[in-house]
């Protein structure tokens, strides 16, 4: 769980950092050709990183859902447990089974 939380935090932090980086990189201050071109490429790579991080965040939610769905213990009401029959039910069943058996056994 803490693993997920830290992953979440890290991703959000990284996302913001990358966004900030894009803003910083988009300034044009007496920079050389080379620097400018590298920076423009870096802007693009930062954009892709943002997308990737967003996808990762989605996977975090998916993991959460999965572990929630798979990790929950079923609470079954003992009164409604389908595997538990009351005596009356069992007797009823007994009679019915016997009736069925008799009916089948007797030649039509």
């Amino acid at each position: 769980m803490s693993n997920l939380l830290s992953k979440f935090d890290n991703n959000v932090e990284l996302l913001l950092a990358k966004f900030q980086e894009i803003c910083t990189l988009s300034t044009v201050e007496n920079k050389d050709y080379e620097v400018q071109s590298v920076e423009s490429l870096q802007i693009e790579s930062d954009g892709w990183t943002i997308i990737r991080i967003a996808e990762e965040l989605l996977s975090v939610t998916r993991t959460l859902k999965e572990s929630w769905i798979l990790g929950q213990a079923k609470n079954t009401d003992p009164d409604k447990d389908p595997n538990d029959f009351s005596d009356a039910q069992l007797y009823d069943l007994y009679e019915k089974v016997n009736r069925l058996l008799d009916e089948l056994a007797s030649d039509a």
């Binding site: 071109s37 693009e44 859902k65």
Partner: protein, 669 residues
């Protein structure tokens, strides 16, 4: 120095003569020291011309005249020296040390005074000393000059850095900034050159363009990604909504490792099978809940346990959707032939296939569960049928045939489409038989459920110690699955009861001179039958409380049925037939007990017969014989005891032997 010293000596005489000549007093020959000083500076040709003009042509000069002149000069000089020594020394000194590169004011003139003594008086030591001093002066002068050069270079470097630095000393370069007088230099920013400004402008505009381009590209990417991801999210939502439906409907959701398209993945699966419900079938019924790539909808897919099975099922399409069908055939004639059979009834299982209830996935799961159960049912039926050959159960071309007295039960495994196709061909339908076939199917399914439950209960038992394991294993091996067996056993049991009833009836008919009414009356009044009395639940303490012993509703199906029949005949004889049909073997045992009432008042105190048979025919013979004998002898006790003893010994008395009754059974006790 020596040159300088010699030089005046050499030039002295002409100079002196010149001076003398210029002075116009050549006879005196008193040359002026100032004049000689000037003469010495004259070039040679001028000097010669001067000498000639003063002293006349060299032809007139004789040795005597020269000697007298020198002598006269010497006298004059000696006299002069007494008066004018200091000035002479100064002049000499100035002549000895001309300083073209030096500032003459810097020279310490007094220190030279001693050295300015006449050249002849100079010693070597003094010369060396002088030389040292001179070198020292030269060094300092060089130093001074280089300092001034540095200074000048520094000044120049302000305007022409290249020219300045080239002549600068390394020390200065190191410590003082070029172009400055050891202080910072402030250049004005806006004094850039035009081309620099233009270049920067160009840089900026290009950079701006590039950045604008990448920003727009990134924004497009982000937009596309956002759209894609929001689509993903909606798909995901749909998937999880479907998942929640499944969780809410109490399906068991488990993590499953699956391998699709060659790569293994972790998926969410659902347990739709009966593995946890006690089934020992190889297919535990685990399905995958997968996400549809396009729509994001949840869909259900069976996970095949064994790859071979998968390929098998994919070959035979629809193999997985088969159901167990029960058909009832009736024999037309008495022939034991397949062609003799006529289909009279068929179970309707197709109607029980779970239909759509709105949620596709849940419907799929339900259907898969249903078909899995059918699959297992047929598998277990086949397995059981193989052990039931002794009970007229045949397995032929994937179908099970169970022979009953007048009907044949066919249990098959067919897909719903096949059933629907065959149904059209069915001509003679009998609702009664249809119902019966349905009931048979129902019963078989119930039995499988029950077996599952039993397995589950067995699993819940605490483990037993190893020393007991062996005996336990034996009992386990014996407890085979029973699906068809109870049906057959009970059918046979009932059949035997009927046969026995008919046998008793026929005996009575014989005894009562074929009077059917009377016999019927006897049968209704004095014949009692109690079926399945070994069922513990038939005991009063359970029956009255409507409770089951050991809580097993299927107990009757497991045990070997035991029925008791009692026939009282004319208050004198009581015949008790105990019929046990063994559920594990194919035979029945019939115990015949005959009691007799001494006084005919219903008090059957005397037991005259207790024998066990395995065939109805034998029972009929035996009972018929006993009844007839009892009827004939009827009275005396002695005879009766005779009969009893005879029966007990297996040797019927001669007079008690009835020809009609046929043989006397051998297996009397």
């Amino acid at each position: 120095m020596p040159f300088l010293k010699i030089n005046p000596v050499l030039t002295e005489s002409p100079r002196d003569t010149l001076e003398n000549g210029s002075n116009g007093t050549p006879a005196n020959g008193t040359p002026q020291s100032n004049g000689s000083l000037e003469d010495s500076s004259l070039p040679l040709n001028q000097l010669l011309a001067k000498i000639v003009s003063q002293n006349g042509p060299f032809v007139d000069i004789t040795e005597e005249s020269l000697l007298s002149e020198i002598a006269g000069n010497n006298k004059e000089r000696e006299g002069k020296q007494m008066k004018q020594e200091p000035t002479d020394e100064d002049a000499e000194m100035e002549e000895a040390f001309p300083s073209p590169g030096m500032a003459s004011s810097d020279l310490p003139s007094p220190s030279l005074a001693p050295s300015a003594s006449p050249a002849s008086s100079l010693t070597v030591e003094e010369f060396m000393k002088q030389k040292e001093k001179a070198i020292g002066y030269m060094d300092s002068a060089l130093n001074e000059s280089s300092l001034s050069l540095d200074f000048v270079s520094l000044l120049i470097s302000c305007l022409r850095p290249a020219a300045g630095t080239s002549s600068m000393s390394p020390h200065l370069k190191q410590h003082v900034k070029v172009g400055s007088l050891s202080s910072g230099r402030i250049t004005r920013q806006n004094q850039q050159k035009d081309e620099d400004i233009a270049r920067d402008k160009k840089n900026q505009s290009a950079g701006r363009g590039w950045k604008l381009q990448s920003l727009s590209r990134v924004s497009n990417d982000l937009k596309a990604a956002a759209e894609r991801l929001s689509g993903e999210i909606s798909k995901e939502k749909q998937y999880w909504d479907g998942m929640m439906d499944i969780v809410r409907s109490d399906e068991v959701v488990i993590p499953v490792k699956s391998s699709r398209n060659g790569k293994s993945a972790k998926d969410i699966g659902v347990k739709y099978g009966f593995g946890d419900a006690g089934s020992n079938y190889y297919d535990k019924g685990i399905g995958l809940l997968l996400k549809d790539r396009d729509g994001g909808e949840l869909y259900f897919e069976r996970k095949d346990v064994i790859p071979q099975v998968q390929s098998m099922q994919s070959n035979g399409k629809g193999e997985a959707h088969k159901v167990v069908t029960v058909k009832i055939y009736k024999r037309r004639g008495g022939k034991q032939d397949e062609s003799d059979l006529e289909l009279v009834g068929e179970s309707d299982i197709v109607g029980r296939i779970p239909g759509d209830q709105g949620c596709k996935v849940l419907d799929d799961i339900r259907r898969a569960r249903f078909f899995l159960f059918e699959e297992e049912l047929f598998y277990q039926l086949m397995k059981e049928a193989a052990t039931l050959i002794s009970l007229q159960v045949k397995v032929d071309s994937g179908k099970i045939f169970v022979e009953f007295y007048h009907i044949v039960l066919e249990i098959g495994f067919a897909s719903a489409e096949e059933i629907a196709k065959e149904k059209g061909e069915l001509v003679s339908r009998n609702e009664e038989f249809d119902r019966q076939a349905d009931e048979v199917g129902c019963f078989l399914r119930l039995m499988l459920c029950f077996q599952h439950r039993q397995n589950l209960q067995k699993r819940r038992l605490p483990p037993i110690s190893l020393c007991q394991l062996q005996s336990r294993n034996q009992t386990n091996a014996q407890s085979v699955l029973m699906l068809l067996r109870p049906l057959i056993t009970y059918k046979k049991h009932n059949r035997t009861i009927l046969k026995l009833k008919t046998a008793l009836k026929s005996i009575l008919l014989n005894l009562e001179a074929k009077d059917e009414d009377k016999v019927n009356k006897i049968m209704t009044d004095n014949f009692r039958i109690k079926k399945f009395c070994n069922d513990p639940n038939q005991m009063k303490r359970y029956r009255s409380k409507h409770r089951l012993s050991r809580g097993n509703p299927f107990i009757r199906c497991l045990m070997s049925p035991l029925s008791v029949m009692e026939l009282k005949y004319k208050g004198r004889l009581r015949i008790i037939l105990e019929l046990t049909s063994d559920s594990k073997a194919s035979f029945s045992t019939i115990v015949v007990r005959v009691d007799k009432s001494e006084r005919g008042d219903g008090d059957y105190g005397k037991e005259i017969l207790d024998v066990e048979f395995s065939h109805v025919r034998e029972v009929e013979d035996c009972v018929g014989w006993v009844m007839r004998t009892a009827e004939k002898t009827n009275q005396p006790d002695a005879e009766r005891s005779e009969v009893a003893s005879a029966v007990a010994n297996g040797l019927p008395s001669e007079n008690g032997l009835s020809n009609e009754a046929g043989e006397v059974p051998n297996d009397t006790k």
